[in-house]
């Protein structure tokens, strides 16, 4: 028998489609942390290595809530000032 597929796919185009990057060389990197201490520890290491090992041209650290969306000002800053972002921690 033929049945409909229960799996939903993400958008493939348009402004809401998620884009990924294959590397951060030459990019300005944003790191968003909700301050789980494990995320803060990871962020410190990423900041230290982003430029020296992965050739990012800059790293900015942003605060986000422990749950829920980032503030509009933070979102604007990330989009305005950075080329790629690492977001953590979801839980």
């Amino acid at each position: 028998m033929k049945i409909l597929n229960p799996v939903g796919a993400p958008r493939t185009s348009g402004e809401r489609a998620l884009l990924t990057v294959s590397g951060i060389a030459g990019l300005r990197l944003a790191i968003l942390t909700n301050h789980w201490k494990s995320m803060d520890r990871m962020a410190r290491r990423m900041i230290a290595r982003a430029s020296e090992r992965y050739a990012a041209v800059g790293v900015e650290l942003y605060d986000i809530p422990i749950n829920g969306p980032m503030a509009e000002a933070v979102e604007h800053g990330v989009l305005q000032d950075c080329d790629a972002a690492i977001v953590g921690l979801a839980n």
Partner: protein, 346 residues
């Protein structure tokens, strides 16, 4: 692939007619919860979608972490699989929409190591219209609406949101509530305002509320006065391994059976007073926590050296449900995210 609104269409599936082989095929494909499902034929899905005046391609939500589009059709497919009747579908639609309210933090719920699942609380006239159990055995098993509405939500979270158990869903142990966790509030025997009225809805409106919880716990409290009930209940609630202590947030849930609710109301207590008493009695001395636990986040609520169960007393959810006996109260510890409430519009 259709470029309509950038939505990739997923092909129909050909499965064996034999019901055992059909279930095996879908199970191997990873689109079930491990239990047999109803095959979502075009006819069944069409009947399901007819319960709401929405286009099949209407996007109800984009579900993390995959970003899958929960269209009316996709949600209907999963609702059929779960065993929902068509008259349950408006509730499922409202629940899916509620998933992506920002404060609910679905991304965290879908990917955490925690056993969290959404508790689906239904209020208003829809409960009686579709047969939601609010009384004895409200948390299961046995009632089709309770069982399948919660199940449909989980299937959507997995098949559309991408939270594959044991893979993207990092839950270390899982939890039975991740199959289904759904009840109605017993508004008819609630001596106070129902939950949705407390949240600003009219009594005649129907709502669905999602609360992220870590499991269920029973508290034996066979007492006829408020004080010993509060003492037993607050002891059961002071499980400081719950995320709400760690994150200083969320909505711990207390389910008072009607007999317990009558005792409090008869002694002049309202829900606000019950919440305040529980909030104060569940505070735990910071000095007695293992330090490593409180090193996890910087967001705990600490009052005078005591760690609070959540941000404030009014965030504790108190609802009335269950059987008539004066015995077990239900408590559901919070994952530490805020609840989401949505009207059922159709």
């Amino acid at each position: 692939m259709s470029e309509r609104s950038g939505i990739a269409e997923t092909a129909d599936l050909e499965v064996p007619d034999d019901i055992d082989a059909m279930f095996d095929a879908l199970y191997e494909r990873g689109v079930t919860d491990g239990l047999p499902v109803i095959p979502p034929t075009a006819a069944r899905v069409g009947t399901m979608m007819a319960a709401v005046p929405l286009d099949p391609g209407h996007v109800l939500a984009e579900l993390p972490p995959r970003g899958g589009l929960a269209t009316v059709e996709k949600v209907a497919v999963n609702a059929v699989m779960a065993g929902c009747r068509p008259d349950y579908f408006p509730v499922v639609v409202a629940a899916v929409e509620a998933l992506v309210q920002p404060q609910f933090n679905l991304t965290g719920i879908q990917t955490t190591t925690n056993p969290v699942a959404p508790l689906v609380l239904i209020n208003g006239p829809v409960r009686n219209r579709i047969g939601v159990n609010c009384g004895a055995g409200a948390l299961g098993p046995g009632w089709r609406a309770n069982a399948t509405v919660g199940r449909a939500l989980r299937l959507v979270m997995v098949n559309v949101g991408g939270a594959t158990p044991g893979d993207v869903d990092k839950s270390i142990l899982g939890m039975p509530g991740k199959y289904t966790l759904c009840l109605g509030e017993l508004e008819e025997l609630n001596p106070w305002e129902p939950f949705h009225v407390e949240r600003g809805y009219a009594p005649g409106e129907s709502t669905v509320t999602l609360i992220s919880v870590q499991g269920t716990q029973s508290c034996a409290a066979s007492y006829t006065e408020p004080e010993p009930i509060l003492r037993m209940l607050s002891n059961a609630m002071t499980a400081f391994g719950a995320n709400s202590y760690t994150k200083g947030n969320g909505n711990p849930v207390v389910i008072l059976p009607p007999a317990h609710a009558r005792i409090f109301a008869g002694a002049g207590w309202d829900k606000r007073q019950i919440k305040q008493a529980l909030f104060e009695r569940t505070m735990y001395p910071q000095a007695e926590f293992p330090m490593r636990l409180l090193d996890t986040t910087a967001r705990q609520q600490i009052h005078d050296g005591r760690v609070c169960i959540c941000r404030r007393a009014e965030d504790i959810v108190v609802i009335v449900a269950g059987g008539p006996e004066l015995n077990h109260i239900g408590f559901l510890a919070s994952f530490g995210n805020d609840l989401a409430i949505n009207p059922i519009r159709y």
